[in-house]
């Protein structure tokens, strides 16, 4: 529920209060990753100005994490209502495929109007796919994991249908700006993702929306009896997850200027779920932490860059992800927390820490 993004300073309060904060372990993981990078390459954190925009590893992290940020944002809301959305990767692929296919067949691919229309079509379609998921979950009453599994399976087929199995490539300067451009020295993709993230954070924390989402997640029946439009809320979060995934798909497609129906957004649903869980939002629904998701996304983006920086094959990245997930989820697991709390009360014993 806490809207504060930074963990409380170490000096304030007891150590236990700091370590029990949901964001403590994720932030520790992020800082440890950044520190490891800086030790390995002291220039890691330096940012310079090149060709009129900022340049450096931190900027890379911010730019590369934009699509995941958007997907994880939708995922957090869905998970908060006790749901899960497996179809986001497929929606990413479909959005990219639709936009690029439209631009490729348009008479003037460089025109701003064409690009805006393509983006509009892709976003509306993504929203509709999200609405479809929401319909299955909230109206038909299918379990979220299965309802979205349907679109996850069929979605890549649909994306391939749109691109006719080809990898569609286009050249269109306005469209390229979305994924690879800079504005005020910062990557446009980052600005878009952070802007949407900020807007949603504002809407959920400064209006009743966040509380309603949590109410539905904590107890759907009770919230319905209390007058919350549970069905509408669930439907809305799935629709939003679709929309944000579509936007992420556009950024990804624009970054490489190609629509690859097979590989665009592959496993992004897993990364997004990972980011949400690392951020301390429980898959059981209820309370959610957008700031936690924010940190989770940064951890995953930093981890990916770290592996590349260390000269390890990116194919081994999953192994490191597994270690981070295991470490963070174990540290957050009820059993370990209980053990830590017991040890904090008693004097430090010689028993080994579990984990």
């Amino acid at each position: 529920m806490s809207a504060t993004s930074a963990p409380p300073p170490r000096t304030a309060g007891r150590l236990g209060a700091v370590t029990s904060h949901t964001l403590f372990w994720p932030v520790v993981a992020l800082v440890a990753l950044l520190a490891a990078n800086t030790i390995f390459r002291p220039s890691f954190l330096s940012v310079s100005v090149l060709n009129g925009h900022l340049f450096g590893s931190p900027i890379d992290i911010l730019r590369n994490c934009a699509p995941l940020m958007l997907v994880a944002l939708g995922m957090t809301l869905v998970i908060a209502t006790r749901g899960i959305d497996l179809s986001v990767g497929a929606v990413v692929a479909i959005a990219g495929a639709v936009a690029l296919s439209f631009i490729a067949t348009a008479p003037e691919p460089e025109a701003i109007g064409t690009v805006l229309t393509a983006i509009g079509i892709a976003l509306v379609l993504s929203l509709l796919l999200g609405v479809w998921n929401g319909f299955l979950v909230s109206v038909v009453g299918v379990q979220p994991i299965i309802a979205t599994l349907i679109l996850m399976t069929a979605g890549r087929g649909i994306a391939m249908l749109i691109t006719q199995g080809q990898i569609t490539t286009v050249t269109s300067a306005p469209f390229k700006t979305l994924g690879a451009g800079f504005w005020l020295g910062l990557p446009v993709a980052t600005l878009v993702a952070f802007g949407v993230f900020g807007l949603v954070s504002f809407l959920t924390r400064r209006t009743a929306l966040g509380m309603l989402v949590e109410a539905v997640g904590i107890n759907p029946s009770a919230s319905r009896l209390a007058g919350v439009q549970a069905r509408t809320i669930v439907w809305t979060v799935f629709a939003l997850a679709g929309l944000f995934s579509g936007l992420a798909g556009l950024i990804l497609a624009s970054n490489v200027m190609a629509a690859d129906a097979n590989n665009a957004g592959l496993f992004i649903e897993l990364d997004a779920i990972l980011a949400v869980v690392i951020g301390g939002t429980s898959l059981a629904g209820g309370k959610f932490s957008l700031s936690g998701t924010f940190v989770g996304v940064l951890i995953i983006a930093t981890l990916t860059l770290t592996v590349t920086n260390l000269g390890i094959s990116p194919l081994v990245t999953p192994l490191f992800k597994a270690l981070v997930v295991a470490a963070v989820t174990l540290a957050q697991s009820p059993v370990v927390r209980r053990k830590l709390a017991e040890r904090a009360v008693r004097r430090p014993s010689t028993s080994k820490a579990v984990a």
């Binding site: 899960i84 009453g141 299965i146 249908l161 194919l315 059993v335």
Partner: protein
């Protein structure tokens, strides 16, 4: 929340009191509602066969059907393991990656000169150990199955690349001889060693699930974990064991895949866990747990395989239609299940 199946635990309990007995034998007269999804799967299977047989020559040949088993043997094994996990209300996302890890390890060790007699049990054990780790995470640390198996999936996939970034061909003689072994039933139905292994796994799973205390506990947990615990059933042990079963099945699946492809490649089995889950759902197992059958999952795999076969026979249809059709079929079955559970309550 979707409605859970409250009678799952009680019927299983009732059967336990009667001292066991096959689900199909005792109540043959009136069709139990629990069998309806499986009957649905069977109807779809028959429908594809009939329509395919009418549309294409040679579709209903023994060769096509025999190949259906040969090409899907590893998926059958994965789906069997997945059935155990889903029956308890869990899910296992790691099976595809564990399959790849097992296949890659087999290829690597065989190439390093280890005898097949050592390698084969060892790679199956790899799956069991990962399953045990997942089970421990789920049970001891109370991490959701989804996340625990997701971590296992990343872990296994990463290990794959660490063991072998490139594809490793298998040339060890005993292994190749085992993989190449086949026999013809009635002179026409070709059965390979992988089909035999897959069928043995199905038989063992069927026995475990329907004729042992372990199997009844699996159903009971799916029906209601709290009730199962209050009944004094070994819930903790069973919850860990289902992941061991699933991991072991994935290990065996990797072995079958290595036999099938005569190589180990770290990118095999990407998204295969989804095929396995789809097969289990199409086979009539409820994802809420408590209701479902191993044989249903086998039918589910056959339906997926037949869809692939039909699209190959059609010729003009591109491969992506497979995914779209499977998605559509999933939708139909999910809605069917939904209708059945609503009517029951």
């Amino acid at each position: 929340m979707t409605t859970t199946v409250p009678d799952g635990g009680t019927t299983q309990g009732a059967r336990a009191r009667r001292g066991g007995g096959g689900p199909a034998t005792r109540r043959a007269l009136r069709l139990d509602r629990r069998y309806l999804p499986v009957v649905g799967t069977f109807v779809v299977l028959a429908l594809i066969l009939v329509v395919g047989g009418m549309r294409y020559d040679n579709f209903l040949s023994v060769g096509v059907l025999a190949n259906l088993f040969i090409n899907n043997s590893f998926l059958i094994v994965l789906a069997v393991g997945m059935t155990f996990v889903i029956l308890t209300g869990g899910i296992d996302l790691s099976v595809g990656a564990v399959l790849a890890l097992s296949a890659v390890t087999a290829a690597y060790l065989l190439n390093a000169g280890m005898p097949a007699g050592v390698v084969i049990p060892l790679v199956v054990l790899v799956g069991s150990v990962i399953g045990l780790l997942v089970g421990a995470m789920v049970h001891v640390f109370e991490i959701q199955p989804f996340i625990a198996t997701l971590a296992a999936m990343f872990f296994a996939r990463g290990l794959c690349f660490l063991v072998a970034p490139e594809s490793i061909p298998i040339s060890e003689e005993t292994f190749v001889a085992l993989a190449g072994w086949d026999t013809w039933i009635g002179g026409q139905w070709r059965i390979t060693s992988s089909v035999v292994i897959a069928l043995v796994v199905v038989a063992v799973a069927f026995y475990l699930l329907h004729y042992t205390q372990f199997g009844r506990t699996v159903y009971a947990i799916g029906g209601g974990e709290q009730s199962a615990r209050l009944m004094g059933l070994p819930v903790a042990r069973t919850k860990v064991l289902v992941y061991v079963v699933s991991g072991t099945c994935a290990g065996i699946g990797g072995l079958l895949f290595a036999m099938y492809s005569r190589s180990g490649y770290s990118l095999t089995g990407v998204a295969m866990e989804l095929d396995a889950i789809a097969a289990v759902v199409i086979g009539g197992t409820l994802l809420t747990g408590g209701t479902g059958f191993v044989l249903g999952s086998v039918l589910g795999v056959l339906v997926l395989g037949l869809i692939q076969t039909v699209i190959t026979f059609e010729g003009t249809l591109s491969s992506w239609w497979t995914k779209i059709v499977i998605g559509g079929l999933l939708l139909v079955f999910v809605i069917l299940q939904r209708v059945l559970t609503v009517r029951r309550t």
